[in-house]
């Protein structure tokens, strides 16, 4: 399908129409900061930095109910809530790349039903990054600033408005069903898209060059993990905020009736790998930090063919110390 053009004045009317049948999630401002939240007509913050709360949260929430259990005469009945139909507006290419990695991990072998069902009921509208944030290094990780595929719709701010490209039948359907808001794209729109994205990429590469797997592996080997352990303040924020991190724990709350919950976890915690006997395969924090890096840069690529880090820079933003990925890698390279 040919690319289209969306005048900024038409964006809100388009969303209002979409909101009639879908829950629209978009970046809005709360107390001054852009966050991904359900849009109820607030001013959009599409041009702001990528919100700190990643939209991956809508596929793998911090806490969700896997099922409820109700006991009667010694037998149980279970109920699961159906997923919500959503549209996420303004996801960035880095987060989209994270979702691709999660699709591999959660979709392979026995597919993870809670994740997969949310994926199936969510439409993803990606916005290319023409103005990268300070901590971003997507280009070095091969995950931005432009999205190549995997989206339902792709927006690029080319100045007078948005260039709109479809990437799936669902995307096409939206363009057709709401065609009154769109016009044909002009050649200069396409040219401008290329120009802006090339510029953005160049700027990101200046901060951190693209690293080969070998260089990264070596950087991990050379890092002094015991030193990192001394400085880490054990907040777990790096893995809780990371869009690729997906470790979770499962627990029951409620007897005899209750809920089985799934909540986000982090392999940096000592209890994460500790067995009931007390034995812990990764007993020291240094070992756990090293494992986290290896998982991102060695194990996930081996399993999925994609890096486990998308260069979104969030870990850097939340680190209480300086042991986040970007900082340690830069240190090791220099």
């Amino acid at each position: 399908m040919k690319p289209l053009f969306l005048d900024p004045d038409n964006l809100v009317p388009l969303l209002e129409e979409l909101a009639e049948t879908l829950e629209v999630v978009a970046p809005i401002r709360v107390e001054g900061e852009p966050v991904f939240a359900t849009w109820r007509g607030e001013p959009l913050a599409l041009d702001a930095d990528n919100p700190l709360n990643s939209p991956v949260e809508f596929f793998l929430p911090q806490k969700e109910v896997l099922f409820k259990y109700v006991q009667y005469s010694g037998r149980y009945t279970f109920s699961e809530d159906p997923p919500k139909s959503r549209l996420i507006l303004g996801m960035r290419p880095c987060d989209l790349q994270a979702i691709k990695v999660l699709d591999e991990i959660f979709g392979r072998e026995l597919p993870d039903h809670p994740y997969v069902s949310k994926r199936r009921s969510t439409i993803i509208v990606v916005k290319n990054c023409t103005d990268p944030g300070e901590e971003c290094f997507c280009a070095s990780m091969g995950s931005g600033p432009a999205a190549e595929d995997g989206y339902d719709l792709l927006l690029t701010d080319v100045g007078p408005g948005y260039l709109v490209e479809s990437g799936s039948p669902a995307g096409m359907f939206i363009l057709r069903a709401h065609s009154c808001h769109f016009q044909e794209a002009l050649p200069e729109h396409l040219k401008e898209k290329e120009r802006l994205l090339d510029l953005a990429e160049e700027e990101i590469r200046k901060r951190m060059p693209a690293l080969t797997p070998e260089e990264i592996r070596q950087a991990i080997e050379e890092t002094d993990w015991e030193e990192a352990e001394k400085r880490c303040l054990r907040c777990g924020g790096c893995s809780l905020v990371c869009p690729v991190c997906h470790c979770f724990s499962v627990l029951d709350q409620g007897v005899p009736d209750g809920e089985r919950l799934r909540c986000r976890d982090s392999c940096t915690f000592s209890g994460f790998s500790r067995m009931t006997s007390g034995a812990n395969p990764r007993a020291s924090l240094g070992e756990r930090l090293r494992h986290w890096y290896l998982d991102k840069f060695v194990y996930i690529p081996e399993k999925t063919g994609m890096l486990g880090c998308v260069g979104c820079g969030r870990c850097s933003r939340v680190c209480l110390s300086d042991v986040d990925r970007w900082s340690l890698l830069r240190e090791a390279i220099e």
Binding site: V30, L52, F58, P61, K230, C235, G236, D265, L320
Partner: protein, 674 residues
């Protein structure tokens, strides 16, 4: 999904965070990047601040005691019974047979109303809260020397320090965001001096680690000050222009030579000198302190010694300097500011001061009691002796957090009436006549004041569970039943009243509290708030030096080990919330006693073995952890765990000046359990 901007419920750092809400449930939390202090970061408890909110143990209905059992009652029953019993006790035995213990976890509005309930409705000044157990010495000490008991500089100010002395603070575990600032300052070149008998994480990262014997703080602080004066590093101009009493102080500290200090505290002359020179030569030096300084039978003197140090070096009233008590609870500063203290009203006006009393009486429309009331531990003692017959406790767990647990139990059990407002059942609610289920921080509107005097909004994200209510509504309801005018339609209205009677909060209103909040003093609606105190003048005119002496340290040959208590990163205080958070509980599932390897060897104890820790009066059984983190002769138990409650062993031994118990130094002995 909604994102509600609010303030964290755990510690005094006061981080900004978003609660993630989906279908009326809090399902997540994330840091607020625009918050001027936390700047998009949180500690592990903050990241999990949402997790306890919907726990099935949440109290949902009022409970009323019928004999041995607690039975579900209606709000009307619970409130009318409480009002009736409190009134009866007041009429039978006088107002001072009653007491109110407020919550350092409650909002400012709640603390203000509960203090008003005590004074205006019950006519007693017996109102106090856990600040008594933590920073009462700061309020007393800094109040006397500087005219104000609060942290003098904002947290951000640490980034401009050239030297930071951290004493009695396990900062990376208790105040992680403040530790982050301190470590960032260090990476920018500041010299970090940490004084702690234990090898805590921040001590291990310090440039100079002083390891004083428990209880010897006055000695080494005076020793540092003495060296600074001797080397000519004191700030003569500042002393001359802004202080009084220096010559008496100089003479007093001259006794604390490095030899004397080494003998008393164990700190070598070499390290003492390094610390003194680093602190004295720094253009901007700051002192950060917490429980290791205050929780001693001479806690106020320890604070005065630190105040002497910063005053003598002119390190008050400027960026990168200051004396910074780190408040534990997220609103213990606010609870103090709101006058939930026996001797002061909100804003620290004294109840004994006739003008102040008349002003409050006019504002509240009733006469008020004039003599200062009892402090928290004194209230427990009075209850044990039958002088206090009825107590209202808000969000506090004296059974776990006060010293001498058995004494607390006797005290509470002997009361004729005990009402407790709580979010979870605790060891204290188990002893109540009436339990009010109240809202957690995620379920009410109000304000918290962090350790850096930043007044911030806490916002309702979801409805409270079952029939639970905001506690400010409960307090107002009780007041009305007791004949006091207390008609507020919102927490915001309560803050309007607070602002009208509290000069330092005069300019605080919800409208003005954006993401940055406002630092008090903020006297009027045009005032931008005050980040740094004492820039030009002290509230008392000139600051005062108070010479203090190191007391003899007592030792008991029958109980040769010293028990010191403290906290873990993963739990908060009595564990009511954090032990119900799966990930936090998993990190630290149970209690252990830290024993030095040499002591362990002498006792024949290995890691993982059960041991009995005994004081003269009590004993408890606990698992041993053998670690270099504690020095020989000292053992450490965190106080979060009710299965081995450290405060079973601690004794009152109150500081006469501030009535804080001697939590940090108890004589014990240890043997294997088998």
């Amino acid at each position: 999904m909604e994102m509600i901007a609010t303030t964290c419920v755990y510690c005094g750092c006061g981080c900004g965070l978003y609660l993630h809400v989906e279908d009326g449930r809090v399902v997540g939390a994330s840091p607020s990047p625009a918050h001027p202090m936390s700047r998009g970061r949180l500690c592990v408890k903050g990241w999990l601040a949402h997790d306890f909110v919907h726990h099935p143990d949440r109290l949902k209905f009022p409970l009323i005691r019928r004999g041995e059992r607690m039975v579900r009652g209606s709000w009307e029953e619970a409130l009318s019974l409480t009002a009736k019993r409190l009134k009866e006790i007041k009429e039978d035995s006088g107002p001072d047979a009653l007491a109110v213990l407020t919550s350092a976890k409650g909002t400012n509005e709640e603390n203000y109303l509960l203090a008003k309930l005590a004074r205006a409705a019950l006519k007693t000044n017996n109102v106090d809260h856990v600040a008594r157990l933590c920073h009462a010495p700061s309020v007393a000490g800094l109040g006397a020397s500087l005219g104000s008991g609060a942290m003098t500089n904002p947290i951000r100010s640490l980034l401009s320090a050239d030297a930071i002395l951290v004493t009695g603070s396990n900062t990376t575990e208790q105040h992680p965001l403040i530790a982050a600032h301190i470590l960032e300052a260090q990476s920018r070149g500041a010299t970090l001096i940490v004084a702690d008998p234990r090898k805590t994480q921040i001590a291990m990262l310090a440039d100079v680690h002083l390891e004083p014997r428990l209880g010897s703080d006055v000695a080494w602080i005076n020793g540092i000050l003495n060296l600074i004066i001797e080397r000519g590093l004191a700030d003569e101009d500042f002393i001359k222009e802004r202080t009084e009493g220096f010559s008496a102080l100089r003479e007093s500290v001259s006794k604390y030579t490095p030899e004397v200090v080494e003998r008393v505290s164990g700190i070598s002359a070499h390290y003492l000198e390094r610390a003194a020179v680093a602190f004295g030569e720094a253009p901007r030096a700051a002192v950060v302190y917490a429980m290791g300084t205050t929780q001693h039978s001479n806690g106020t003197d320890n604070v005065l010694a630190l105040a002497n140090l910063v005053l003598a070096t002119g390190n008050v009233g400027r960026e990168g300097t200051g004396i910074n008590p780190l408040r534990g609870h997220q609103n213990v500063q606010g609870a103090c500011d709101m006058g939930a203290l026996p001797a002061v009203y909100s804003g620290y006006a004294k109840v004994e001061d006739r003008a102040a009393r008349e002003k409050m009486a006019a504002a509240w429309g009733t006469d008020l009691p004039s003599g200062p009331g009892l402090t928290a531990v004194e209230i427990m003692e009075a209850a044990e002796e039958g002088r206090i017959r009825g107590i209202y406790i808000s969000g506090e767990n004296p059974m776990m957090s006060y010293p001498d647990r058995e004494g607390v139990k006797r005290a509470l059990e002997s009361l004729e009436f005990l009402a407790v407002a709580e979010i979870f059942p605790t060891e204290t609610t188990a002893l109540a006549n009436v339990v009010f289920p109240v809202a957690s921080f995620a379920e009410k509107d109000g304000t918290f004041t962090s350790t850096e005097r930043r007044v911030q909004r806490v916002r309702r994200a979801v409805l409270p569970p079952g029939e639970a209510r905001s506690e400010w509504e409960v307090a107002a309801d009780l007041m009305r039943r007791l004949g006091i005018d207390a008609d507020y339609s919102s927490a915001e209205e309560v803050m309007e009243e607070i602002a009208s009677v509290t000069p330092s909060y005069g300019g605080i209103s919800y409208q003005r509290l954006g993401i940055s909040g406002l630092h008090w003093p903020c006297p009027d609606t045009n005032h931008p708030g005050t980040e740094i105190l004492h820039r030009d003048a002290f509230p008392i005119g000139r600051a005062r030096f108070f010479p203090v002496e190191q007391p003899e340290l007592d030792f008991d040959p029958d109980y040769p080990l010293l028990l010191t208590t403290g906290r873990s990163l993963f739990h908060f205080h009595t564990g009511t919330m954090t032990r119900r958070v799966h990930l936090l509980d998993r990190e630290r599932p149970g209690p252990t006693v830290d024993i030095n390897p040499e002591d362990a060897k002498a006792l024949g104890v290995r890691r993982g073995q059960m041991v009995v820790v005994e004081s003269a009066e009590h004993k408890l059984e606990i698992e041993a952890d053998v670690t270099e983190e504690v020095p020989r002769g000292t053992v450490f138990i965190p106080f979060h765990f009710q299965e081995a409650p450290a405060n079973l062993l601690t004794v009152k031994n109150l500081d006469p000046k501030s009535k804080i118990p001697d939590f940090k130094r108890t004589h014990v002995r240890i043997r294997r359990a088998d």
